[in-house]
Amino acid sequence: MHDFVKLVKRTTPAPLPAAPHAEDLAVLQYTGGTTGVSKGAMLTHSNLSTNLQQSRAWFTGLEEGKEVFLTALPLFHSFGMTAAMNFPVSIPGTMVLIPDPRDVKAIVRAVATHRVTMLPAVPAIFNAILNYPKIGDIDLKSVKRCFSGSAAMAEDVLRRFEELTGSRIVEGFGLSEASPVTHMNPLNGLRKPGTIGVPIPIRTRGR
């Protein structure tokens, strides 16, 4: 097993020779969707950056340098890439990496140990945390905001998770081609569990 850090430490730090332009292609985000063969969605820096700024506007009250994110979602997926990696970098906040999102024990431990404040996940993860043995004895009160996507969340799970942690769960919707978030329920205010929410703020200026 090679140590990545040791390998890169042998070289000197040199920033990118040419900074990418906002309209340059940043990633080919592979998306299978529900039909057919995977396709590479061409996302520019501007696409990704816009989505980060929209999310930042939506989640009011985030504190620079103070937020702790649970990064359990796979980063090769557009949801994980944006909500669990790029978003924390844009704030910036700390990312607590969990290599396997099915490892509920590691997730629960990480949330409790590192005092995670922001938890992007899918309904199955919220449900698994709720069903973890003796979850009521574990202090998960540090969690303030959660973001749920990819599937509708059962109202019961949402209510019980919020009671357990004292957090607010925001359900949203997106697609890889839109890098990815397009809709969210309001963090505070009228929200409708099991729905995708309302369109998020549009971008007016700057190309």
Binding site: L7, V8, G40, M42, P186
Partner: protein, 188 residues
């Protein structure tokens, strides 16, 4: 802007439209390192990296790739034990029209390469497409052979990084001139 019916659902303080700040993704990282350099960026079990350290790693890693290389590495950091999963994912994913990648790139990705070339050197062309028998023998050996033929000019460090990012069998590599590792990257 024109009011929309859903704007009334927005909570106080959320604007219906926002002024875009023209920042690219690397600039977000740069800004984080400049303003919050000592904030912990990544926690991985008992290891931590601050934003300053993360930026430093990125700067060391990034420019080492020749211009002609397009990276399709799994996004998961390569030293983590899931790179094998990432490679499998990649193999499954890159089967259709892969953007600007040419056919040999797709073959290379299917054969398990985590880094493949956008432009394949002429002298390497006869090796493509990779035969099933080549990749079936040993994933690691075929990866190394591929990298060698796609990028014979990569210097030693890059080659080592490439090896480190690939799925490898768990047994220790044999030493000596005849080993796959020695063949893979030292000759040109």
């Amino acid at each position: 802007m024109e009011p929309r019916s859903w704007h009334k659902s927005y909570e106080a303080g959320v604007p219906p439209a926002l002024d875009f700040e023209p920042l690219t993704v690397p600039q977000f990282l740069g800004r984080a390192a400049a303003r919050h350099g000592d904030t912990v960026a990544v926690v991985y079990f008992n290891r931590r990296l601050t934003y300053k350290q993360l930026k430093d790693h990125v700067d060391r890693f990034e420019p080492r790739w020749p211009d002609s290389v397009s990276r399709v590495t799994p996004v998961w950091p390569s030293s983590f034990p899931t790179s094998a999963d990432g490679n499998r994912l990649l193999r499954d994913a890159v089967v259709g029209r892969a953007g600007r990648h040419d056919e040999s790139t797709v073959h290379a990705a299917r054969a398990g390469a985590s880094v493949v070339g956008r432009r394949v050197p002429r002298r390497g062309r006869h090796r493509f497409p990779v035969r099933r028998s080549d990749s079936g023998r040993s994933g690691a050996a075929s990866n190394r052979a591929l990298h060698h033929h796609v990028h014979p000019g990569l210097h030693a460090l890059s080659a080592e990084v490439l090896r480190a990012t690939q799925a490898r069998p768990r047994r220790p590599a044999a030493s000596g001139a005849g080993s796959a590792r020695a063949r893979g990257c030292t000759t040109s």
